[in-house]
Symmetry: C2
Subunit: 490 residues, 2 copies
């Protein structure tokens, strides 16, 4: 059966796009660069949300909701933030439509806003404006707030999940009495993200710091987790920013400490988005479709009956009822696909496409023999196994699959992370064996910029706990004390 997906070796980018569409994850909308997240795709996002939300709450955070619109003037208040965000934004200028009398809907020019509103590209400005009213003394600190929301950044070149004009995300915004506490918060949230991405998405990440060039606009320090996709390009999967007192100063947010001394508040912000869906898809999937880690798969086990007569189906159905109860008790989600409008082969292909980790097929002979056919999505292998003890076996296999998927991605990353000491070699590898290149850099933004211009590779991060060693900058030959990770990136 052709699934209408191009091979990933042939055209990785098209393969990704085909996969997202054919697996019913998302599609483009009539609005430029905005996507529709379809029910199957959204059910994965809901799982991501639920797990992260619990992690945020377990670390003391609460959710809140701030307005979609931000007054234009707010963007002028924090100088470096301006440069980063007051650019490609959707701007609301009017608040009314009217009928022109000939049946056409037109914008009512009499309903022009005095000050234009920006659809939030991120919410630091409106949140810090609000925090001014919430914070007077050290007793009001820390504020540990997160928001689940949609944001808009008008993108010229868009890709489903990876770069869309509107996307869904969470943005944490915290306020602290000391610099140390804010740094600890930013570091803690980086750990939360790394934990989530490695243990749930099964995608290994490098934890690190961004260079000043690549920092979030307004941050003193940006921590990030970087993952490697199967085409050797890097993907930034989450960021956590230490914002210092920049936003507190821009919005005049001071607090009185225990000694009644006034000081500006210290801030962090941190976020992950529907981009994680892109990482999830690109890190594991193959030409047959999605490969989902069991811990985030909306359907973990699918059962397909194979039968000719109704009494055979009845027999199988009775067995599946028992299995379903056993799996539900273990917290494992199972779907029994007994549609009579589709043949088993069609169903096999469909669930393969959708990345269901385990498939159980049961025919009449299986029922006589007390067996089932059990197929793994990750290895594309199948075997005939006993019905006795099947639920336990499935439970064990799901764990094994989760680990195997992670291991495979980790092996891939290790094979595609290379220490490079020579500029020609650096350029050659980027074309011939793309991946993470660990190279020395002289620490200047100018060199970083030149490397980017010549190779399209950027410094993804300076890894945390980086080994210190003497070396020479890959481009300039100037002295350097540590390697940084370069890659072309999404």
């Amino acid at each position: 059966m052709s699934k209408g997906i191009v091979s990933k070796d042939e055209d990785y980018s098209q393969w990704f796009n085909d996969l997202v569409i054919k697996a019913d994850l998302a599609e483009y909308s009539p609005v430029r660069g905005c996507m529709i997240i379809k029910p199957y795709g959204y059910s994965i996002w809901e799982k991501i949300q639920a797990v992260l939300d619990k992690m945020f709450k377990d670390t003391g955070h609460s959710n809140a909701y701030f307005p979609l619109f931000i007054p234009k003037s707010f963007f002028s208040k924090e100088a470096s933030h301006v440069e980063g965000f007051a650019k490609e934004c959707a701007v609301v200028t009017h608040y009314r439509l009217k009928n022109d009398g000939e049946g056409n809907i037109i914008v009512d020019d009499e309903a022009k806003l005095e000050e234009e509103l920006i659809v939030r590209p991120t919410s630091e400005t409106i949140i810090w404006h609000t925090y001014k009213g919430w914070i007077q003394s050290y007793r009001d600190l820390p504020i540990l707030v997160n928001q689940w929301a949609n944001v808009v950044r008008w993108e010229m070149r868009t890709r489903l999940f990876l770069r869309t004009s509107e996307f869904l995300w969470q943005e944490g915004h915290t306020a602290h009495a000391t610099s140390e506490e804010a740094v600890a918060e930013a570091e803690q949230m980086l750990e939360v993200y790394a934990d989530f991405v490695e243990n749930w998405l099964a995608v290994p990440v490098v934890k690190g710091r961004k260079t000043p060039n690549e920092r979030f606009a307004g941050a003193l320090d940006t921590y990030c987790i970087e993952a490697l996709m199967q085409d050797g390009k890097a993907l930034q999967a989450g960021t956590s920013h230490f914002l210092g007192q920049n936003f507190a100063k821009a919005f005049d947010v001071k607090f009185s400490d225990k000694e009644n001394k006034l000081d500006y508040v210290w801030a962090t912000s941190w976020g992950v988005s529907t981009r994680l869906m892109g990482a999830l898809i690109m890190a594991h999937s193959d030409d047959a479709g999605l490969v989902l880690p069991p811990m985030l798969a909306p359907i973990q086990v699918v059962v397909v009956p194979i039968y000719k007569h109704d009494d055979e189906l009845e027999n199988i159905t009775n067995y599946v009822k028992g299995l379903t109860a056993e799996l539900k008790a273990k917290g494992i989600s199972i779907k029994f696909d007994n549609r009579d409008t589709q043949r088993p082969g069609f169903k096999f292909a469909e669930y393969e496409l959708k990345g269901v980790p385990l498939r159980v097929a049961i025919g009449s002979r299986d029922m006589q023999n007390g067996t089932v056919e059990l197929a793994r999505r990750d290895t594309r292998t199948k075997e005939t196994v006993e019905q006795a003890g099947l639920a336990d076996r499935i439970e064990g296999l799901l764990e094994e699959i989760q680990q195997n998927i992670f291991k495979k991605a980790l092996d891939f990353r290790e094979e595609n992370t290379t220490e490079v000491n020579d500029w020609e070699e650096f350029k050659r590898l980027l074309d011939e064996k793309p991946g993470f290149l660990a190279a020395h850099w002289d620490g200047t933004p100018e060199t970083e910029q030149r490397i980017k211009e010549e190779t399209k590779a950027t410094i993804r991060c300076i890894p945390l706990n980086n080994k210190q060693e003497e070396g020479k900058c890959i481009l300039t030959g100037k002295p350097s004390k540590e390697r940084v990770l370069f890659a072309r990136a999404y």
Copy 2:
């Protein structure tokens, strides 16, 4: 202690506003008519979301996500929808800001959109545009999709939670092969809403149909649930619409049935919003603050220790640890407020203000006697009870409080629902004893409109399973076969 809340008898509207702000539920933002939902308010909304989301899934629905922006032209496609929604909307006309060179951020006039985008006031148009691609045959039906999202309707007069320019809601959009199935869906979702509002929010509702005048723009039939607030004004708490084939025709969505015959698809939509927070607050609360039904209270039980010395606190803390474990096992949320920065009286007032259903106070003498002081928020009564069996007692009390709050609201509604047969009496009651007025109406939009103009009362609904009886229209004296419910409304 003054909580800064005006008495509700003195100024109901101000009381509501004070309450929302002082109880940390929400506040106005610098953006006209948009609110900030604070962590405590948002935690109630999260509970509402979680319960409703499960109810939707239990009835077969999945979540998805559609774009925030809708092309302007979409609003011209469904004629009656235009009249209802293509009015007070936020309009995006530009997609870029720039620096004017003097440090000011201005809108870049070169980045003007070819077609203006409307920030969704509701999503029927973009969703039916999308469904065209999803539906070919009866096998693709039904589509049972829900979306949790923010929407914007530019309101001139706003009130926190009740009427804000941006609000949060869910909107279900379903597609069916037959009219009967769509009607059954619309009715089912009305039942879901009624069940939720009565059994979780503890607010009794009247289920009914809207008159054609009051229908959703584009609907053939609008079902609604109507609740009565403590000031005698009605509040529409949820609506479910049978849309017929209007949107399918507007967006040309046809399906082939089993006989391969083409027909337009049948539709419903249904929604509830953060307005439910307004209903929750206004239906139960009093001059001392919020009264929350235990099933939606973020904190169900708060424990306040009363002590002078640290060893007393240690003693109390040990006891509370055991109680906490017992309550957690029962799924009851408990907070131990051992802050040493506030006195017990301050804490009592704070939790009263925040509507925590049960308060446990424990002092040293209590510890000696094996007792605690247990205070109910709904009745504002307290008693000294044994520590032995306290967890069971709390569990029982929470159920009792939930029922008591509902009963109180139901009694109030019954006392304030009056059958009226005389026009002067009708007008007098609206001023002197506002509530639901059950009166005959001649069935014409003209009469309905005249009554609205003269009294500001609207027909809230024609109750389902309404008693049929001969009568005369309250205004025109023309014959009528059933009473409808009038009220002034939020």
